[in-house]
């Protein structure tokens, strides 16, 4: 395999979802091509970095209040709908 064919497959190789029939030849090219190996390593490092993204979670009280608001909005809509019909 050449770099031209391997480069578009690097994402799927890094994501472990490359077709079985291609895996071996892509692996063998990457083992012998520093440029493609570097591209794969960079993709893997980016994936690892992105997986670390965490969000600040509000306390349970927020989720309970949000749930109450959702249920209230729905009850209001249902009441308005019943009044129309």
């Amino acid at each position: 395999m050449t770099c031209l064919k391997v480069v578009p497959l690097i994402d799927d190789f890094a994501d472990k979802c490359l077709a079985e029939s291609l895996k071996e030849s892509v692996r063998s090219h990457i083992d012998s091509c520093p440029e493609c190996e570097s591209k794969l390593n960079e993709t893997q490092r980016l994936k690892t970095l992105l997986q670390r993204l965490a969000v600040p979670y509000p306390a349970l009280i927020y989720f309970n209040e949000a749930t109450d608001l959702i249920l209230t909005r729905i009850a209001d809509e249902r009441r308005a709908h019943q009044e129309i019909h």
Binding site: T43, V55, P56, Y57, A66
Partner: protein, 187 residues
């Protein structure tokens, strides 16, 4: 818990509000977390959570033909988040509004760090990753978040965004290329 979902959805579609409330409780944190990564602040994430469940309630008839409730839910959430992102484009950036979070705030990562310095470094890293994601157009950003951050498969992302897997691959590739450039110093 997961096994209960089809039963709860069936009952919700048939009019059970108790089971709808149960579904809200089961999925609200997941929707909040993904929404926050997409919109980048608490106020908009809160808006996405509330609007998503209200819209799902309105669309409940459609759920009769839906295989996976979580995919349907995530689709409604991401569509609304895309609307919000587009609405905010060109407007003033909404900054870090962590202080507006009700109750105790907990950075998930803080659980795994031990010193104030490490905590500071991690907060900085989170802000850099979020800022990098914020530079992407909405579809690329959401594809990268759903796939690379939240761990959905390409097929799942395609189902959520209602597009072919080839589009997911292409958006993911472009997003990664841009992110590698923006976050080069971290790689």
């Amino acid at each position: 818990m997961k096994d209960q979902i089809p039963e709860l959805v069936g009952s919700f579609v048939n009019g059970s509000e108790v089971d709808f409330a149960m579904l809200v409780r089961m999925f609200r944190r997941k929707i909040y977390a993904t929404a926050h990564k997409i919109v980048g602040n608490h106020l908009d994430a809160d808006d996405v959570v509330q609007e998503t469940f209200v819209r799902v309630y309105r669309k409940r008839e459609e759920l009769k033909d839906v295989k996976y409730f979580s995919t349907f839910l995530m689709r409604v959430a991401t569509n609304y988040a895309i609307d919000l992102l587009r609405r905010h484009r060109g407007h003033q950036e909404i900054g870090d509004d962590t202080a507006s979070l009700p109750g105790a705030v907990q950075l998930d990562l803080a659980k795994r760090v031990s010193t104030p310095k490490e905590e500071f470094e991690n907060k900085k890293l989170m802000e850099e990753i979020q800022a990098a994601l914020d530079q992407l157009p909405p579809r690329q950003k959401i594809t990268a978040i759903l796939h690379d951050v939240d761990g959905h498969t390409k097929a799942e992302v395609a189902a959520i965004l209602e597009c072919p897997e080839t589009t997911v691959r292409s958006n993911l590739h472009i997003a990664r290329t841009k992110l590698k450039r923006i976050l080069k110093h971290r790689l």
